[in-house]
């Protein structure tokens, strides 16, 4: 019985746990419940992926209403993979959260924090699982509204302005998406993605559909922080509580990229997106600009969280580049990088969370000599950094390898050169942190700093070791991503 209801449970478990957290009122039990719910969601995601690998596409009719009238949860390889990423990151981040939240959030608000966190998780899982274009908007807003709250809980007062800025940009993005969905509904009379895909070709040549495409892509682009719509991201990631940064950086933008994939390949289909609209002509230059400009900006940052945030913008550029290439290899690179980058940034931001809790700052100048004082944390940062640069035997290398392959397939060796150049820039900004942490003596009279507690180190290292593991054994990531790319490009359109 449970097996057939897995798609519903995926969203319902965190949704049920969120109000229960409010009722529990105390941080300890709320944390335990949130962690249990998150692990359960992870279990469901694993089972879903296995089920999809065995049986193909799963379709769940919410409320028993048949699609296209009712809301359909539709799980194929692409979103089963995204669900796994989101649930896995959440399952790793929450054990870390206990100490970090205790240090950064007032105790009387902690239960609300966990409640908001679970709502955010619900929203992200919902976006990934639903097969209904309007339902995506609803879940998008659930996750966005809760993430504005989560970001505003940061200690620095700038967290408030960052959350406000994100609120304005995020709402405009979501409203653009809403306009796009509305225009599509006006032309086709349906909201179900699979149904839209069937009915759109008949009206594809109208200006309304072209406008809808633009609205959808820009709206989701804001949410995904695709260059040049990324302006909300650096401040939001920089001033949010550590747990929130790690969770959002690893999942929120990834889920939006997934929605972009759905719009491009499932709803409109590659023929429309790439031949009629020539999506790639606009997006490839922007993606390349993101890779180079954001990486360069990252070099000049003095706050390590902000540095990593700019690096995220650059990494999103890699994903958008892969998707915009429009080939199976390109989309594979995009999807694989979704997974790999989630692990890289999750691990790096968790390491920064350790530093923030123990040191009280993530400014570069305060981190001098930290390599000796917090050896395990900084070692994790170094391995994560190597993966970010793309050193062989790490996940970062795998994504870049596939991406370079994809560009060479198209004969664009110039893009490959730019990818390598951007990796060099990554080397520079990672090195800046390493240099300060390992080769500069601790300042005179610096406060005594001890290593982070195990409860925080274990989740960090789990993600970092996953980086190494999936850098060697690529059968899960690359294999699933390739099959997902094939379904997106071939089957559904």
């Amino acid at each position: 019985m449970i097996a057939e209801h897995l798609p519903a449970l995926q969203v319902v478990i965190p949704l049920l746990a969120a109000p229960l957290c409010v009722l529990l009122r105390r941080p300890g039990p709320a944390w335990a419940l949130a962690t249990a719910a998150s692990w359960a969601a992870f279990g469901v995601a694993v089972l879903l992926l296995i089920a999809v690998l065995e049986q193909g596409v799963l379709s769940y009719h919410l409320g028993g209403w048949e699609p296209p009238w009712g809301i359909e949860y539709r799980v194929d390889l692409a979103n089963a993979f995204v669900l796994l990423i989101v649930a896995a990151i959440s399952a790793v981040v929450l054990p870390f959260a206990r100490r970090s939240v205790a240090a950064e959030i007032p105790e009387e608000k902690a239960y609300l924090f966990y409640s908001m966190y679970l709502l955010c998780l619900t929203g992200l899982l919902g976006i990934a699982i639903t097969g209904d274009a309007f339902n995506v908007f609803v879940f998008l807003e659930i996750s966005s509204l809760s993430s504005y709250v989560l970001i505003s809980l940061g200690k620095d007062r700038r967290a408030l302005t960052a959350a406000f800025q994100y609120l304005i940009m995020g709402t405009i993005g979501a409203t653009f998406y809403l306009i796009g969905v509305g225009l599509l509904y006006a032309m086709t009379g349906t909201l179900n993605m699979a149904d839209l895909a069937q009915r759109l070709p008949a009206v594809a040549d109208t200006r309304t559909v072209h406008a809808a495409f633009a609205f959808l892509v820009i709206g989701i682009g804001v949410k995904a922080a695709a260059f040049p719509l990324h302006l909300w991201l650096p401040n939001a990631y920089c001033y949010a509580p550590s747990v929130v940064t790690a969770f959002l950086a690893a999942t929120a933008t990834k889920v939006s990229i997934y929605v972009l994939l759905r719009i491009l390949f499932t709803v409109f289909g590659p023929v429309f997106s790439f031949e009629a609209i020539e999506f790639d002509l606009v997006m490839i230059p922007l993606a390349l600009a993101a890779m180079l400009l954001a990486s360069t900006t990252a070099i000049f940052q003095n706050n390590v969280k902000r540095l990593l945030a700019y690096s995220s913008v650059a990494q999103i550029g890699y994903m958008v580049l892969g998707i915009s290439l429009g080939s199976v290899t390109g989309v594979t690179a995009g999807i694989v990088h979704l997974f790999n980058h989630a692990m890289i940034k999750g691990g790096l931001f968790l390491a920064m969370g350790c530093v923030f809790v123990m040191l009280g700052s993530v400014q570069l100048r305060d981190m001098a000599g930290l390599g000796r004082r917090m050896p395990w944390t900084m070692a994790a940062f170094v391995i994560g950094g190597l993966s970010l640069i793309g050193v062989p035997a790490t996940t970062g290398f795998i994504s870049k390898w596939v991406l370079v392959q994809a560009t060479l397939e198209r004969g664009q060796w110039f893009f490959a050169v730019l990818i390598l150049a951007s990796s060099l820039l990554a080397l520079v900004y990672v090195w800046r942190v390493v240099e300060v942490a390992y080769f500069r003596p601790a300042p005179e009279g610096a406060a005594e700093v001890s290593e982070a507690p195990l409860a925080m180190l274990i989740p960090t290292w789990l993600l970092i070791l996953a980086n190494v593991y999936f850098g060697v054994d690529t059968s899960l990531t690359l294999g699933v991503a390739r099959r997902a790319a094939e379904t997106l490009l071939g089957g559904a359109a």
Binding site: A8, L16, P19, V22, L23, L62
Partner: protein, 141 residues
């Protein structure tokens, strides 16, 4: 506001009607225009009007903030719980048809409960928003 006799009398007259109208919108929602969202807002408006006329402290005595917070969660739980109940009874999530032997009855019961959950949460959220905005800066200064 102690001296505004007209306001106080009119508010006292109106509030019962506002609450009854909210309940009408709530429970008539599955046949006519209405439903939990609208009903919740109207219901909360009754309390907010009371708060505006008689002061925040008075309305907090009537509905303590802690109770409101529980109601916010309870509404969502009712909504999600109905879904889980339909799962356990063998239907899909939120498939109310299985709640009773007769699917039509089940649908009626289901939508009634769901809308009640929505109404509870919306009313509680509206009151919470009012409390927080109106009470802000009072404790601090």
């Amino acid at each position: 506001m102690r001296h505004h006799l007209v306001l106080r009398v009119i508010a006292k007259l109106l509030i019962p009607f506002i609450l009854v109208f909210a309940l009408y919108v709530q429970f008539h929602g599955d046949y006519g225009p209405g439903g939990g969202f609208q009903a919740g807002v109207i219901f909360a408006a009754g309390f907010i009007l009371y708060g505006l006329i008689f002061g925040l402290d008075q309305v907090r005595k009537v509905v303590p903030p802690a109770v409101v917070e529980v109601l916010v969660a309870a509404g969502v739980l009712l909504y999600a719980g109905v879904g889980v109940a339909s799962l356990l009874l063998g239907g899909n999530y939120l498939d109310y048809g299985v709640l009773r032997h007769d699917p039509v009855h089940g649908q009626h019961l289901g939508i009634l409960l769901i809308e009640f959950g929505v109404g509870t949460t919306v009313a509680a959220v509206m009151i919470t928003i009012f409390y927080n905005f109106a009470g802000r800066g009072r404790e601090g200064r």
